[in-house]
């Protein structure tokens, strides 16, 4: 497997020239996020990830996690790498200084997670899930729970999980059956079985903190009767030392298609002692606090796997000699179809990076800006972009990983190349934290009701208009203008068609999300192309501009097949009789 090298040039280009990260240092609380710190953080995170975590990607895949009588051992090297990563302070990058974090913007954490996911996607889940648990505790936990648990989760001394899924409650959490009984002493006894629990049990740290969805005996049915509980693997004594083992038991781990280094556990709560987070029956809302960040993180996993596959394919194509190309080139990178695949991989990957980093910046603005209306606008953008970051970036992960195998040909299908691992790893990103269809339904449903897609269409149109006099950008502005009209038309159709038959948006949601994502990518490619035009003598900027041109000419036209497909309606999808399918 080729070594992972953090794409620092592209990361810095996106941070500086596309999203203008320096603006964050002007926000209260982010004064430290000056350009030298940004550069230092990226440099040093790249070093530790490239040298200690990325080399475990392939061995972690081959070795997998081992289960033995309730204990789980991660692949060799994971524990040491995790401890070095945590001790070096990386888990607390964007967490509150009050709890041992560094208080830096989430945008920087996003850049680090981009590298971590690309370096080792299975490994990235352990700190990734802990982030969600921290966020839920910060937002909804009592002062007491925060005081006991937040610092250790921030510093990575302990890890966290999200225990939502049960065998009968996957995408539909209204089916959650795990029970919680009030002991009237501030604790609850929780009983039930949770499945697909990432990091539910492992050997990195001395304590694991589970955030668990369960029902009180008198709770209403459905999602309005779900509460959230914090359940530690080991109880905490009053002097903060570890106490008794709580009866939270890992019953087994799953044998999976990919991400073998990540432990996916069946967790039995056998009257485990838990503490309620926030109020009764509001667990689902709290869960979404974790979930929204988790969805952005999964989007970064899609980006990461795409980046790694792209690096591997480019490296191979520059070395592999096979049939002299039409232009006389000896290596396969000169063959037009290989080049088409590589440019597709590059354009989609770099596009996902721009959308992800900009969404992260909006997230920081939504939290830190002094003006409430600015915060609201930024938060709207995060809400809109969350399903797009999650679903399109993970679809991209699969598309790009598959192309990566194709570029390598027969060699790509062989384990040793490392490319097939990316294909196997990438698929789960389209599934967990809400399948990509769930993301699409969120976009055409809740987000559409809030007018968020419509608002950003207006913003995109204004951007195209503002740049319209720049003739050097005509190559992308022209097709974007046509595509945007098509998106607007499709959006109007969806709103109308939803009233005629609710199946219409449901049947077209995934295609609509793809269409919307292509326009979003195009919007950022306009910004990237404009920045690249300034320094065309530099080979990076020359390639960036060429990639923008490739996007406009070869990827954006996908909208012309998507729009009519969306507007063909649900009837054609549902027409066949069930028995006949």
């Amino acid at each position: 497997m080729p070594e992972y090298k953090a794409p620092q040039r592209d990361m810095m280009f996106v941070l500086n020239d596309v999203i203008n990260v320096s603006e964050l240092a002007e926000l209260p609380g982010f004064e430290d996020a000056t350009p030298d710190i940004v550069q230092g953080v990226i440099d040093e995170a790249a070093k530790i990830i490239e040298n200690t975590i990325a080399p475990l990607n392939e061995t972690g895949d081959r070795e997998g996690c081992r289960f033995d009588n309730g204990t789980v051992t991660a692949p060799a090297g994971f524990k040491e790498a995790y401890q070095l990563y945590a001790e070096s302070g990386w888990t607390g990058l964007d967490k509150s200084i009050d709890f041992g974090g560094q208080g830096l913007p989430y945008t920087l954490a996003t850049a680090v997670t981009d590298m971590l996911s690309a370096g080792n996607d299975a490994f990235s889940l352990y700190p990734g899930l802990t982030n969600g648990a921290c966020e839920a505790l910060v937002e909804h936990g009592s002062q007491e729970l925060q005081d006991i648990y937040l610092e250790k989760l921030t510093t990575g001394e302990w890890t966290g999980t999200m225990c939502l899924t049960e065998p009968q409650a996957g995408s539909d959490l209204s089916q959650v059956r795990t029970k919680a009984i009030d002991q009237n002493d501030g604790t609850y006894l929780v009983e039930g079985t949770k499945v697909f629990i990432t990091g539910g049990e492992h050997d990195f740290v001395e304590n694991i903190i589970h955030l668990v969805l369960a029902r009180l005996p008198d709770a209403p049915a459905g999602v309005k009767g779900i509460s959230m509980f914090l359940i530690p693997k080991f109880m905490i004594n009053s002097d903060a030392s570890l106490g008794e083992r709580n009866p939270v038991v890992c019953a087994s781990i799953e044998e999976k298609m990919g991400i073998h280094g990540s432990s996916t556990c069946v967790m039995n709560f056998e009257n485990a002692v838990g503490y309620m987070i926030g109020n009764p029956n509001e667990g689902l809302r709290y869960m979404f606090t974790m979930m929204n960040l988790a969805r952005l993180m999964v989007g970064l996993q899609g980006l990461g796997v795409a980046e790694r596959a792209t690096q591997g394919a480019i490296e191979y194509a520059k070395e592999r000699k096979q049939a002299t190309a039409i232009n006389g080139g000896a290596t396969i990178i000169h063959h037009p179809d290989v080049r088409r695949m590589l440019m597709t991989m590059k354009a989609l990957t770099e596009g996902c990076r721009m959308v992800a980093y900009d969404t992260a910046k909006q997230y920081d603005i939504s939290k830190a800006h002094p003006d409430a209306s600015v915060r609201k606008t930024a938060n709207d953008r995060v809400e809109l972009m969350t399903p797009i970051c999650k679903a399109f970036a993970t679809d991209t992960g699969c598309e790009v990983a598959s192309l990566g195998v194709q570029v390598l040909g027969g060699a790509g299908y062989i384990r040793e190349s490392g490319m097939e691992q990316h294909m196997r790893d990438a698929k789960i990103f389209c599934i967990y934290e809400g399948t990509n269809a769930i993301q699409a339904l969120d976009l055409v449903g809740r987000k559409m009701k809030l007018n968020l897609p419509q608002n950003f269409i207006t913003e995109m149109a204004a951007k195209l208009e503002a740049e319209s006099s720049n003739s050097e950008l005509a190559f992308i502005l022209e097709p974007m203008k046509i595509a945007l009209e098509l998106l607007d038309e499709t959006t109007q159709w969806l709103i109308k068609a939803a009233q005629e038959d609710p199946q219409n948006p449901a049947a077209a949601a995934v295609e609509y999300l793809t269409l919307y994502s292509l326009l979003t990518h195009g919007y950022f490619w306009v910004i990237a192309a404009k920045a690249a035009l300034i320094k065309q003598d530099d080979s990076f900027c020359q390639a960036k501009l060429a990639t923008a041109q490739f996007f406009a000419a070869k990827i954006l036209p996908r909208v012309h097949s998507l729009a009519p497909a969306i507007m063909s309606g649900a009837a054609v999808v549902m027409a066949a009789e069930e028995d006949g399918i």
Partner: protein
């Protein structure tokens, strides 16, 4: 005891070097720059001596453009106490660097000046030796092991014949080789702390130094592409081919 450590900003060792189209030098625009790897080893060794109680203060010094402060910040994040930046946009030749280091040495009076044995950009491997001569101090170059004991040090050197151990009196100049240690990973909180550590800035003129102009760069060009080899069928043919080329 103070240790002064030299830190140079160079093109990152992972970057494939490209020569500028006009032959005036190596392209650095938009290229990732890092601390010279041998200097990183020097910083690490100085910090280990401090952590072992053998030194009280580690001062990092660089000579170079404004942006070189990034590499000083790295040294500070690794654990150096403070830094000195001698700012210049000119190309600095080894003799100039040695003169500057001598001036700073006179000011700071360190017991050890620790330098990477060479910088990976020009690979000169001269500054440490020149500084030792200018200061009239002992030198121990290519160190792979350093034991400091009071006012002297035992330094194991990597030489062509293997290893050699020198006992030197301090103050001295030591240049570090690859196997001396493995530099630490910088901790994130230390990156933040480094921002608040002091960097003192001088110009070359302020130090009263006359830059050396002994070497003039006429032209920079990429090495010629390697010619494809040939296969020979026998030893005799090989010997004949070598003779024909005048190689034996």
């Amino acid at each position: 005891m103070k240790i002064l450590v030299g830190v140079k900003r160079v093109v990152d060792f992972n970057v494939r070097i490209q020569v500028k189209a006009d032959g005036s030098g190596v392209a650095t625009e938009g290229v990732k720059m890092s601390m010279n790897p041998f200097d990183e080893i020097a910083v690490e060794e100085a910090l280990r001596l401090k952590e072992a109680g053998k030194a009280e203060e580690v001062i990092a010094i660089t000579i170079g453009p404004k942006a070189s402060q990034e590499q000083l910040r790295t040294a500070l994040a690794m654990g150096a106490d403070r830094a000195i930046h001698v700012e210049t946009d000119e190309d600095v030749q080894p003799l100039t660097a040695a003169r500057i280091l001598k001036a700073i040495t006179d000011k700071e009076e360190p017991k050890i000046v620790m330098l990477g044995k060479q910088a990976i950009d020009d690979d000169n491997n001269q500054t440490a030796q020149m500084l030792a001569a200018l200061a009239n101090w002992p030198q121990a170059t290519f160190a792979s092991k350093i034991d400091v004991d009071g006012d002297s040090a035992n330094v194991t050197r990597e030489i062509d014949a293997g290893l050699e151990t020198l006992s030197i009196d301090l103050p001295a100049v030591i240049s570090t080789d690859l196997r001396l240690n493995e530099p630490r990973y910088v901790k994130l909180p230390d990156i933040m702390k480094a921002k608040r550590k002091p960097i003192e800035t001088f110009t070359i003129a302020e130090l009263g130094i006359e830059p050396a102009a002994a070497v003039k760069v006429l032209k920079t060009s990429a090495p010629a592409a390697r010619q494809a080899g040939i296969k020979v069928a026998s030893v005799d043919e090989l010997v004949a081919a070598l003779k024909e080329k005048g190689l034996i």
